[in-house]
């Protein structure tokens, strides 16, 4: 076993353990903090895949924006978040069965695929630059349309989120 494999196993163990804490933590703020550790682990997995750009974007976008947004939302609804009572549904056994069944099904289907044991070799340097990605995104014959659609989606989501979350009573009083 090479050192890279040992590093990968450590990263995977940390990621999965903190993911379990995300879905089982009693206090929601703790779940959000465990989510940050999970996202960091996923960023490290991206780095082992030599997707360096996405490892950075994972830290910037997921941890820097999404996780902070979630923590803000938790703080704004704090009285409800500290509510006593069960943190899981009555039917959580069915949910666990569905998740375990889905995992077993995925592994069973994947293990029949002939490329399952492919070993990922290190890519030659220069073949994984972000320059090629940027050119593909701006080339009208390739991915310019999905790129623009993603921009429109982000603007629409931003406008929609402001419209939904605005407090009408406060606005009307002014």
């Amino acid at each position: 076993m090479t050192s890279l494999q040992i590093v990968f196993l450590i990263i995977a163990a940390v990621t999965l353990a903190s993911a379990v804490m995300v879905v089982t933590a009693r206090r929601l703020m703790h779940a959000a903090l465990w989510l940050i550790l999970t996202l960091l682990g996923v960023a490290a997995v991206f780095a082992t895949l030599q997707a360096n750009f996405f490892a950075v974007v994972q830290v910037l976008v997921y941890i820097g924006a999404i996780a902070i947004l979630i923590i803000f939302a938790i703080m704004m609804t704090r009285e409800v978040m500290s509510v006593t009572g069960p943190r899981l549904n009555r039917g959580w056994g069915w949910a666990a069965a569905a998740a375990a069944g889905g995992l077993a099904g995925l592994v069973a289907v994947l293990s029949t695929w002939q490329g399952f044991q492919t070993v990922l070799e290190p890519l030659p340097s220069g073949s994984v630059g972000v320059g090629a990605l940027g050119e593909a995104f701006l080339d009208p014959n390739r991915f310019a349309v999905p790129f623009e659609v993603a921009s429109v989606l982000l603007v629409a989501a931003m406008v929609g989120a402001i419209y939904i979350a605005v407090d009408r009573k406060v606005v009307e009083e002014q």
């Binding site: 890279l4 999965l16 929601l28 949910a95 998740a99 592994v107 994947l110 989501a157």
Partner: protein
């Protein structure tokens, strides 16, 4: 050096954990955290397969990277709208427990 199967197993486990969170948690924000875990699992898969297609051919492949970038954008949009909905529901109903949000029940 790392087999593709390890990445796929990690992503499948992360997806299953997220699925459990979505189905079992009572708090709407906790459900959202489960969705984030599932999206991350999908991204691991996309980038692992991108690496595989990259090492199988000499030409640069960017399709997998484009997929992952789009997933990032959609995840950011989805989180913003979902949190706005949760805050709006909290203002009107004083709860974020998904069991109690049964306005559409027949």
């Amino acid at each position: 050096m790392i087999p593709l199967s390890w990445y796929l197993m990690l992503a499948a486990a992360l997806f299953a954990i997220g699925l459990f969170g979505v189905l079992a948690r009572r708090n709407a924000v906790a459900v959202l955290l489960g969705i984030e875990l599932m999206l991350n699992a999908v991204n691991i898969n996309l980038l692992a397969f991108w690496h595989r297609s990259q090492q199988l051919s000499a030409e640069p492949h960017v399709t997998g990277l484009v997929f992952a970038a789009i997933v990032f954008a959609v995840a950011a949009a989805e989180t913003a709208v979902a949190l706005a909905l949760i805050i709006s529901v909290y203002r009107r109903r004083d709860t974020v427990v998904v069991d109690e949000l049964d306005l559409l029940r027949g």
